[in-house]
Symmetry: D2
Subunit: 362 residues, 4 copies
């Protein structure tokens, strides 16, 4: 309710503008501020935690926006790296746009440099199931992937050193009532042509895929697959677009590539995390601090101040069945018996399709 | 601060999803709701008040978005009519897009019908000053406007019955230190080739142009000239994009055209209105109601409930120098001596470059 | 994120204030605007729909605020009527406050008249279960209720024509694992000493109580029982405090009393409604309008514009299993086969503990 | 617009609750989250920057709330220290409340310990001008200040080691058309009975007082003087209540006292700072970092990333007349010629009634 603010401006501008300038008066207060907000997620294990989205579209396939805009919105949201993955085979706007499969990258790279966003050259191989859709990242030339056989397309990517992601394996348009790992996926996987799988796409979570990734040493991937505007698709007031967190040696494309092949990734969606237990435990413990501040009247309880430095809230269940939430970028004060902070379950940190992080907080 | 909301969902989904489905779990709470909000501005004098934006760009000139997206965002914001006005002469993306000057209209019209948005076929004649940039509305074919001489372009528009707007006359890139009506504008005006002028463009107000419009019987026009995303360019939490209010006999393109040639328009920007006194007075009086609810202790004052049904707040100054704001879509209670509500000035309603609406409220 | 707005003000005030006044410069933009927003819920069946909260506390029992503040916040939120129901027997602050059981009413009634809020004189009889806590409304003097026997207290209320509400019957502090109608309640009910029951209190819903109310002809009641600040207790950005909707012949205390004894009430909480089917159907149909706006490509579908004039969103399930939400104070466009709008279930309108409203929308 | 979120909850709870529990279903999503947010302002010169508000009221003078609530809201907003300063002489509610001048402190101190808020024992000496109103902080017993002569009251405070603040010297109710330092203030000042002056109170700034403080070695003080609810009085979405920043050796009452007598304070209001140049320069330079990230096409410009770690935005004017804003807790990218970052003026950092901070940023 900031009408009052606007009105102060109105009256000020109103009275002064008349005296000063009849030609051109600016009203900058109408504009939205455009700054970059940091997404606070701590580094772990000596790595930087980079916030990445490896799946999005532009007018050069079936998206609504010009390629450079994808850089602009990633910068504003606080991301470190993105890849534009226009469909190689599905281009409904082809009649109205020109260029080849590298065009969308080329139209975004200059702004990426100016905004210090890591732009990863990529493309989306788009087939029926199996094998469905696959993103190839870290390309130098997307055009050689435009070939009839999917195996040939992926080999062309691999020749360039690509990291290949199987996208939205449980998408109902392709797997309406299951999320199956087909023999063709097994074949591609054995040839090194699948290196990661999306456990999350847009607003869909595929729990079974989290188990696949952990058991097969595939990277856990989480992407927006945005076709429209990120800020109009996702509720950025209360969270972020789906992101892949990459634990990288440095903030560079090469380090991201190294980390992804080493499976150092976690999915981050809807204020939840999904991935290997060791990463989730490290992220949780790097985010949260606990301090006893006073005795409390009842039951040998103490008042504990629990502070969360990260943008991810944590939803806690104690062994005694108590539940509370450690709010994002905030501190709370809880009356607890000291032992209650041991063996807690973090309900929104998924270590497998049916398991959640258990950890000692104090 | 809706973290708590998200967390409730987290815990609910968390616990149930595991039991129910390992393939695909939807998280619709991540998405922004997409409904159309009404912009509450009352009809006046027997006319409907239509909210219009006659100036915007797409990838088919120097904009960031696909044409159909302009319909989508106009629908969501609550507008009635828009025109896409891609530059005829200035097309930096020409190498990457195909089609002719009608393409952006054609790529948006189907969605416009589905969303019940009035899409007005148009184009922007883009020249150096004089005469600068001019929008031609209500075209049937924009291609004939692509000719060397600006007079020929505008005549081609007029042949189609176009309404022609001189855009951003005080734009500093073209008129750095003045806002001049050139002899060429006089010539075009006399030939009926200028029918309205933007008194406001994006975030710029040209007070002198309001006087031009009133004295020459030109329509007052107010447009966004948006190239990026409306919701990221303008602060829609506290206001709207710049709009031209059109007082039309019905909600149709033909009625808008009739109203515009009859100068039944008002500029609406930054929670202000600018235009003919009779329209502003009618809008104000149709928006606000006053009721005495109780005597008040001091100075023969009464408590007045003042209710504003419109989305425009009104910033009031009484003859006694008192100032208060009638908030948008809200009511306030003010202690006032009865006579104080006569002869008030509405500080954010501009009837001329140096005059504001004076009106009796009670 | 309106930092930009503030900054415009900063620079304007900054530059001008220095020249103008070194003694006292006002920054009204720091303040929150204080207007009253209408809660849009339509009248039905010829009655006005009044928004009421009949349960709240002040420093005169165990609340945090001065009585007049309860009027202030009810006015700002858009309520029509409230009652302050300080505990008669439970007064932890008694050592620090003075007066009798009418004091909190007396300290609020003047502001209520100035703000046009209907303030109902009341008190809370506060006992162990059974019968628990009961609010007596429409009193003229609360002091006679301060007697040892609960039956005597309620008879003293009845002598004044009181409407008596059993509060939070399922409160775990008093009924930890059930929500029982005790023999004492049956006795009080038969003597006319229970006239309504809270189906909802603060953030708790007691579904079984909805069935009691409907079968026994008790009024459905829904209250905040707020002890702190309403705007800090409830998320008013996305909803309202719990409210009892009263369908009254006019906006007066006497009409509210008549309506409550006639059971013309509905509970409104968390963007849901609970009450008699006839009231819910009437509220839904008075809120929503449907219009076919265009044919749609597939399956004989049409595009329907569905508009919701009320502040309650409606969550719809069609007989075919389709789900969608009619957003609050917004319109949506849905592709539907015409018959799909018959026999819909409104998932957030509860007609009984295990039933939801079924209705034809078109 | 988080209706969608609520609706997800609705449908989930709706379907499950019926099967699970007819007695009591909780809707925690209706509640506002209650965590403490950090106010990010860096420490300087080896001191911690503590955020303090030394002026506020409760029902024990003319405020609207119970004393403990002042602790609750200070905790949630992120403050370190407060003092409750109920009027000693002006108690309109005296008829309805009991206790002495220490009661409001006593009713808040337990919660202060539990919330780790530093609660400073205090009181407001309330007289006509001169000398007006004065707050005495760091008392052990406020009762001895309740004496007829103001000099005696202040001496009684001084005997306890009090720090004494002259409140709102430019308040129009007491100094309608000036802000005068009266002979009585000179006398009190010389006796050490005025140690600081409010340069800001609630929404009022007294620029001349900033000069007084700097020339006379008085501490710059900035307080809310809140009588109602902080979150309903001030727009906390876009800023904070007025605060005194204290540069203290540690987070303790004794350190605050030491710092205040040493004049290590700055006023923080409306996203501005006012105080000694050395403190403002240190705060600015500790908040902002600059990095050149790329060459830019025109005029030997480079793109600079400017990051602001503090909650205070900075409004910059370069020597060349360029203006831009370094948004709060965000980074921006600006094309600038390297030298432009020298000799900038920070328009919202006031070093005197007519001077602003000048500083080199790079």
């Amino acid at each position: 309710m900031n009408i009052r603010i606007l009105l102060s401006v109105i009256s000020l501008l109103g009275s002064h503008s008349f005296a000063q300038n009849l030609n051109n008066v600016q009203f900058p207060e109408m504009q939205k501020a455009t700054g970059r907000k940091e997404i606070r997620i701590p580094g772990i294990m000596g790595y930087q935690t980079l916030k990445c989205d490896f799946h999005m579209h532009t007018v050069f396939s079936d998206g609504m926006v010009w390629p450079a805009f994808r850089v602009e919105e990633a910068w504003a949201e606080g991301l470190d790296a993105i890849s534009i993955t226009d469909h190689i085979e599905n281009q409904p706007s082809k009649k109205y746009v020109s260029g080849d499969h590298n065009t969308s990258y080329e139209l975004a790279i200059d702004l990426a440099k100016q905004k210090n966003i890591l732009l990863i050259h990529a493309g989306e191989v788009t087939r029926k199931m199996p094998p469905g859709h696959l993103n190839a990242l870290f390309l130098t030339d997307t055009n050689p992937l435009d070939v009839p056989l999917v195996q040939d397309a992926l080999q062309a990517a691999k020749k360039q050193g690509a990291f290949i992601i199987w996208n939205h394996p449980g998408w109902k348009a392709q797997q309406p009532d299951t999320c199956r790992w087909w023999p063709l996926h097994e074949e591609l996987f054995e040839k090194g042509l699948i290196n990661g799988v999306e456990v999350f796409n847009e607003i869909e979570y595929y729990p079974i895929v989290l188990d696949w990734c952990i058991s097969r040493k595939l990277s856990v991937i989480c992407n927006s697959d945005v076709h429209g505007i990120v800020s109009e698709t996702f509720d950025l007031e209360n969270g972020h677009r789906p992101m892949t967190l990459v634990f990288a040696k440095s903030r560079s494309i090469e380090s991201i590539r190294e980390a992804m092949f080493a499976n150092r990734t976690v999915a981050c969606f809807d204020n939840k995390l999904a991935g290997k237990e060791e990463f989730l435990a490290a992220l949780f413990l790097a985010s949260v601090t606990v301090k006893s501040i006073a005795a409390y009247e009842n039951n040998n309880q103490e008042l504990f101040e629990i502070k969360n430095n990260s943008t991810i809230p944590f939803d806690i269940e104690t062994q005694q069945g108590g539940k509370f939430t450690i709010l994002a970028e905030a501190s709370i004060i809880m009356p607890l018996v000291r032992g209650e902070l041991n063996g807690i379950t973090v309900l929104n940190l998924y270590t497998g399709s049916q398991s959640k992080l258990k950890v000692d907080l104090f």
